[in-house]
Amino acid sequence: MNEKELQKILCILGENDRKLLSNLSKEKKEISELGLEKDAALRSSAILEKYSLAETEKLEEEKYFLTEEGIEYLENLFPEQRVVRETKIENLSELEKKIGIPWAIKNGWIEIKAGKVIPKVSKEETSNYEPLNILKKISESKPLTPSEKEICETLLKRGIIEKKLEKKFFVSITELGELAKKQLDKIPKMQTELTREVIISGKDFIFKPYDVEAPVEKPIRGKLHPITIFIQRIKRIFLSMGFEEMEGPEIESAFWNFDALFQPQDHPARDIVDTFYLSEPKYLEVPRDAIEKVKESHEKNLKYEWNEEISKAAILRSHTTSVSARTLYEIGKLNKKPGKYFCIGRVYRNEAIDFSHLPEFHQVEGIVVWEGANFRHLLGFLKEFYKRLGFKKIKFVPHHFPYTEPSLEIHVYFEQKKKWFELGGAGIFRPELSIPLWGKYPVLAWGLSLERPMMLLYDIQDIRTFYINDLSWIEKMKM
């Protein structure tokens, strides 16, 4: 190392580092003997070691300490010693009876005869008691002899003393350190800050080098919510497959949410326990021609008297399939073209909140409105969608929905958990649904969960996490 490099290092050193360096010698010194606070000395010695100016050595030494009981014995003698000093059993404390008497007997100091303590030795003979001497030595941090250490094992078991590891640090100077020490007073004056004045002065400066490897504080940045980022990902997938985005209202009539989807008016899902009904507004308007066609389909195919008022009830949509129904109607009225449509939106269920249930969450909806469509195409779109989302292994399980036939559930295999997970439902809209709205058949359709695959992909256990909006969670989520 040349002098220049050495000077560069010296520039980095702080005041404490320099002080420590000047106090070092070739001989190892304990850290507390170096004229600095222990913590400051530790920090500085680490810096000196980093630049090879010093060597440190860590030693761990077993050391005995007195427990509270030990401190008490050191002050008031061991209970066995106290027993010898008291002849009447009734005057002994519980501790002295329980611990003192057995030890005194073991030491051959007393006998018990007819419930009386008979001392076999004098008080003075028990005064120079080896364990007590050891306690004294430990409390004064004096070194112990090997035979004393053996006795310590018994004292450990009695809980009078305890063993702890004591760390000691020793520091010594290196040859480079010696060189540096000699140059401590030759450090030139340096510029610390890079400022406008430096530039406009036109002069040359020597800049104090930084510890460029030291950590710095993270700047504050803006961030999108993880749900938005995931939705953007899904939108990109649909766009790349040629899907057009469709929109529809959250505040919806039962008509578009249920009736238009061929769901009978007494279907359990329409119950007030599952669906949010509104009191203000109570009813919503529905186009006359749609009402006529849907009424006819229900009455002819499901054989019951369809009630218009029930269908006009204002609700919060329970699925985005209501948007699909509206889009089909638009296509039927020639306001839109047949094609591939998707939508991602909030849906509402009258459920209590827990780790896997929320009263509002998102659904991913898709329809393919095309006379040439078939069941295999439905599976094709779903498989491709999940593959792009990161789920390679997928299976389709038969299921039932009132509005699709055939119907299926999508299950994906999640490698990390070695399990199958249900992520959504799909099928071909029943002709009793698509013919009144669109006039044609078939329509491929699906309604998929948004939060559930997110929970799998980002290892989120509790669905509430998404909506709590803990800013540090949003900050740390890597999407």
Binding site: K223, E245, E250, P268, F276, G372, K383, F396, P398, N469
Partner: protein, 532 residues
């Protein structure tokens, strides 16, 4: 979804050949019903979808499995002509009745347990808690035909599981079943009752009489079903009769005698057509006749004849869900096996397109993020109290029936949602800059609109800082503003935001009282604008 439990041993016996339970479970799942094996109680638990009430009975499941696994071919169900009749009067509260009789039923403890489960499951689900369908089972030999269905106010009989004679209105008050199902007969003084020639046998759908009780000595069973939908009641009757038929019973129709006409309670003959072209077009397959035949049989259908274009199918009487040939298509797909379909992306070229709303949304969000804001996604369901805390006095879209006490409205502003987020994050580092783009309810439009709200909170905030943010976002919006005060802003430190002369938002420093309402210590400034 209905959950039914079956003894594994009895199910295996009914299926015919001794098959391992795992194979049975797989078959049930492949038919489309979820199930679970409980090893300890030696039971199998099946979640039956509402379109298949025939699987609510153990015989129904056994028959479906043995057809599916091709242990047995489906057989036609036969019902004998009626020998007995029900005289049906006008019963306004519950207009319909159908009935059937099963002879030589092998009644034992297991049988009774399973048939009661099937009956109760039909009541709860298919029967909409007995409102639509209620089934009464009686010991036929303890009844005396003919039967009558009529409404009456005063008559007394001994209900099941009691000794005391009671009148219908007393049963509604005293008997546990009367209390449970009494709601069906609010504000009615004549009650629907089924009689035989000796008296009342059923106060439907509440309770049967004690006299015709079924027990292990019963040989022949009389089944009566009352309700509001004769179409579905027939399906329920067929399901029960077919289960008894599978148990070895002989079954018989019952004549319904109205004032002006007569008809049979049910019919077991139903033939429907399935066109090959339709089938193959929907599934994207080229199934041949023998494959179609095999798939149909595995799902319990009996193909009667194949002509050039279509196959005629005998629909089993217990299948309540076949209303269109597409229902055959699904069953054939299930028998073919969903796993055997090759997924395919079709050549149907369309142009992908984002909605206008999504496009502007992306631009606005990008600006917020580049200004150092965190995006918030919060609940749209809220309550009046939360909006009062912010002195938001918009008219509310109200929810009628939320089970959670926290929910009573669709929020009319994003501002309270974001204040709550600040409150939740009060221990985190400052400054905090947050925004949300989300839906709010507009009462007079009976609909929602999209709004944006942004808040800044720090040890010191200023109107000019938040107004600067508003001005950047406004590049996408084209709104104008003028000085204006709001309930929740400091007087003289807020603007009203206008679009085409209409007030669409505000921007300003938030009144410290409101900030304190949320237990916050740092001041807040913000804005909210309705977009579209």
């Amino acid at each position: 979804m209905a959950v039914v439990k079956y003894q594994i041993k009895r199910l295996q016996e009914l299926i015919g050949k001794e098959r391992p339970i795992d194979e049975i479970k797989e078959a049930i799942e492949n038919i489309g019903e979820e199930c679970e094996i409980d090893i300890e109680s030696e039971e199998i638990k099946v979640n039956v979808n509402p379109n298949r009430p025939d699987l609510y009975s153990i015989e129904g499941i056994a028959r479906a499995v043995s057809n599916f696994l091709e242990i047995r071919e489906p057989r036609p169900y036969e019902i004998n002509d009626a020998k007995h009749e029900i005289v049906v009067s006008n019963v306004s509260a519950r207009p319909y009745i159908v009935a059937g009789i099963a002879y030589n039923v092998n009644v034992n403890e297991d049988f009774l347990k399973d048939i009661i489960q099937a009956q109760e499951t039909i009541h709860e689900n298919f029967g909409r808690k007995r409102k639509k369908i209620a089934i009464g089972l009686h010991d036929f030999d303890k009844t005396k035909p003919p039967y009558y269905y009529k409404e009456m106010k005063y008559t007394r009989f001994v209900p099941l599981d009691t000794q005391e004679e009671l009148a219908p209105h007393e049963i509604l008050k005293k008997h546990p079943k009367g209390i449970e199902y009494g709601d069906i007969y609010k504000n009615i003084d004549e009650y629907p009752l089924v009689f035989d020639s000796l008296g009342v046998i059923s106060f439907t759908p509440i309770i049967n009489c004690e006299r015709t009780r079924i027990d292990e000595s019963t040989k022949n069973i009389f089944i009566e079903i009352t309700g509001t939908s004769i179409h579905e009641m027939r399906s329920a009757l067929n399901i029960i009769l077919c289960s008894l038929y599978d148990n070895g019973a002989k079954i018989e129709n019952v004549k319904l005698k109205y004032v002006d006409r007569e008809e049979d309670s049910t019919s077991f003959v139903r033939i429907e057509k399935l066109e090959y072209k339709f089938l193959n077009k929907v599934l994207g397959l080229r199934l041949k006749r023998d494959e179609i035949e095999r798939c149909l049989k595995r799902m319990g259908f009996i193909p009667k004849s194949f002509d050039e274009k279509s196959v005629s199918i005998l629909v089993p009487p217990y299948r309540a869900d076949i209303i269109h040939q597409v229902d055959f298509v699904e069953d054939i797909a299930i028998a073919y096996g969903y796993e055997n379909f090759k997924p395919k992306i079709p050549n149907f070229n369309t142009i992908g397109n984002l909605s206008k709303e999504s496009e502007i949304e992306e631009k606005i969000k990008l600006d917020f993020v580049s200004l150092g804001f965190y995006e918030i996604v919060s609940f749209t369901l809220s309550n009046e109290e939360k909006e009062e805390m912010c002195k938001i006095e918009n008219e509310k879209i109200k929810i009628e029936n939320a089970i959670s006490k926290e929910i009573s409205i669709f929020r009319s502003s994003l501002f309270p949602s974001l204040m709550q987020v600040l409150s939740l994050n009060k221990t985190k580092s400052f400054p905090q800059k947050i925004f949300e783009m989300g839906k709010i309810g507009i009462k007079k439009e009976k609909s929602t609109r999209t709004a944006i709200c942004a808040l800044i909170s720090d040890t010191k905030v200023s109107f000019s800082e938040i107004k600067g943010v508003y001005q950047i976002i406004n590049e996408h919006l084209g709104t104008s503003y003028k000085a204006m005060d709001f309930n929740f802003t400091i007087p003289g430190r807020a603007i009203g935001i206008f679009k085409k002369g209409k007030l669409v938002g505000w921007c300003g420093e938030i009144d410290p009282k409101i900030v304190r309402n949320f237990n916050l210590e740092n001041p807040v400034a913000g804005f909210e604008i309705i977009l579209y």
